[in-house]
């Protein structure tokens, strides 16, 4: 019961990655490590582009991030990333993008903690 509660509160869901790995823990570890190494710099790039109001570049980075979030099962970020991608690339409601990027960073920070825990358990 306690375990179920913990699952519903988690941001990441590695069941899809687990299906792909099919028991290959080394590959699972590699995927998580690569995500942890790669994503912070992408978030940082987004933030730097916010300063320059380079909305299209922000949209492109969001597009690039999208598939790796699928592997980590970060569902709460999925809609957010899609909005950043669309609004950035089409220059729609750009005033909202600033807030969305920081919201994404916050979700990612929570996800990183969970993923590091996952790595420790592997």
């Amino acid at each position: 019961m306690e375990n179920d509660n913990r699952n519903t509160e988690r941001i990441t869901d590695l069941s899809y990655l687990g299906t792909i790995c099919d028991g290959d823990q080394a590959f699972k570890r590699e995927m998580i490590e690569t995500f942890l190494n790669n994503t912070p710099s992408l978030i940082n790039d987004m933030k730097l582009n916010l300063i320059e109001a380079e909305w299209k570049k922000i949209g492109d980075i969001a597009h690039k991030m999208k598939p790796s979030f699928t592997f980590m099962g970060i569902q709460t970020a999925k809609e957010l990333i899609l909005r950043i991608e669309r609004q950035g690339r089409h220059l729609e409601n750009t005033s909202e993008i600033h807030q969305m990027v920081f919201q994404l960073e916050s979700i990612c920070n929570e996800a990183f903690v969970e993923l590091k825990e996952e790595l420790d358990s592997l």
Binding site: Y16, I20, F27, E30, N38, H63, K64, P67, S68
Partner: protein
Amino acid sequence: MPSDESIKIFIVEDDPVYLKFLQYVIGLNPDHDIKSFSNGNDALNALHERPSIITLDYSLPDKSGEEILKEIKDFDPNIPVIMVSGQEEIGIAVQLLKLGAYDYIIKDEETKERLEYALTNAKRNISLVKEINTLKQEITEKYEFGNSIIGNSVAIKRVFELMKKAIKTNITISITGETGTGKELVAKGIHYNSDRKNKPFIPVNISAVPKELIESELFGHEKGAFTGAVTRRIGKFEEADGGTIFLDEIAEMELSLQAKLLRVIQEREVTRVGGNSIIPIDVRLLVATHKNLAEEVKKGNFREDLYYRLLGLPIQLPPLRERDTDIILLAKYFLNSFCEENDMEGLTLSREAQEKLLKYHYPGNIRELKSIVELAAVMCNDTEVNADDINFSSPKSEENFAYQELSLKEYNDRIIDFFLKKYDNNVLKVAEVLDIGKSTIYRYLKDKTI
């Protein structure tokens, strides 16, 4: 370490997480020799390594997937490029497929299965292309003059000389010769040694197609053009585009169709039956007949203007009886081929068998020789084919009779012998049929006994 069976696959992907995923999925098959690139230019610079398959991300830092795809296709249009993209717009997918992408896979939760499926199909296609190329090579080798047309007689060497001239140009070739002299073989030899060898060779035997269908067979038809035309069908001329069409037994073509053929040859375009569109064609024309076309023109059976159009470079194939010892070369070739095809021990031809073969007239030419040799191989009870194993059974045997070039006495003896057998040694009956005296027959029998 890639094995001999390995398939080189380039992965072009700049997202490190997705690159790991693609490497893992593609690497599950140990036969895949993977090389990864994080930008388009590096991948393009490595194309000389001849990858068998490329997976290509649409959004790369240096160039768009579309640009890279075009450059890959310019380098080698046969490399299957599987686009793997986060772009879900149908328009982009359609555009890339039009440009020659092998497949378009969206990065989602079904990517693994789709990628595996696409790779399996691409590999099957590669294997089929290899098989086709091998077969093309085999066909080319098969129809090299020396391999396909056997002989070193003066008569056949003259044909080789003309064939060599024929392959250098696109001139129409008219091949004439008796039935069974190898007209289609010569036509194939010209096609498969010409610049058109990698394009289709389409043979059409005019006399074998019903008269009411020949026009649609040659030029195609549109749906509903006539009863039974339930779908559009392209004709043999369109099928042969870029290659060669071989119209055998051209003399059998009806005059009304000859006019249409003349127009096609002059205009280099066809119109399907029941259609209005004019379709340009690039086809080399080879024609053949066992008849004398000039005679057919005189008789009014063949259009004179078409005759001159078709004449081009005429190649007259000699009948087998004029090819001297080619008969033995061909007989040995057919004998070996037959033994190989039927898993038989190799057979040789005895001296007597060779002499017997050389004396015959062959009204059915090479085709007849082949069947005679094959029958001899079946009848033979030894490792050597003897004269007794060789049987001539041409329906034109009366023509053969004179070609055996025997003395008058020998002919007389043969005739008497034939009728004695026929009438069960009834001398009276044979004398009556041949209108000769009984004594002539008795004398023959006496000489034979001696």
